[in-house]
Symmetry: C2
């Protein structure tokens, strides 16, 4: 069993209003040295296979087809053996 | 300038209906060896300081006070030097 750990972020050119709201909230709490906040998604996908390279290629496929939106998002992933 | 990379996940005991929906969607697309999907958040927080340990303690404070919900979520973080 392998686990794909997938990090999905908005592309740099895309505005992140949720991140801006969090930055402003932190600023109001006194964290005025926080210059930028970007909010992405973190997915843990458990893939039942003994073939690490298969798990990796499946995870990339899943990102391209369903999990990430390539128009506005970038992703990276790592494959970790479970158990 | 340091960047806090914060990974927030639901605790294991907490149901993740969004993750379940994604697992079912993947299954319907033919990825029937995907056994579990958990969906969390991935935050990038840029902190303007030259003091790595200050950035780290601030990031932990921010997680506890605002960014993560300790009742249902766990978080981990790493501090990376920018630029």
């Amino acid at each position: 069993m392998y686990q794909a750990r997938i990090y999905i972020t908005l592309r740099e050119s895309v505005l992140d209003p949720q991140g801006t709201a969090v930055r402003k909230a932190l600023d109001a709490m006194g964290y005025d040295n926080v210059k930028d906040v970007r909010i992405g998604r973190y997915l843990l996908v458990d893939i039942d296979t003994d073939d690490k390279s298969l798990a990796e290629s499946q995870a990339h496929d899943m990102c391209k087809k369903l999990l990430a939106n390539p128009v506005i998002e970038d992703y990276k992933l790592e494959i970790v053996k479970l158990g």
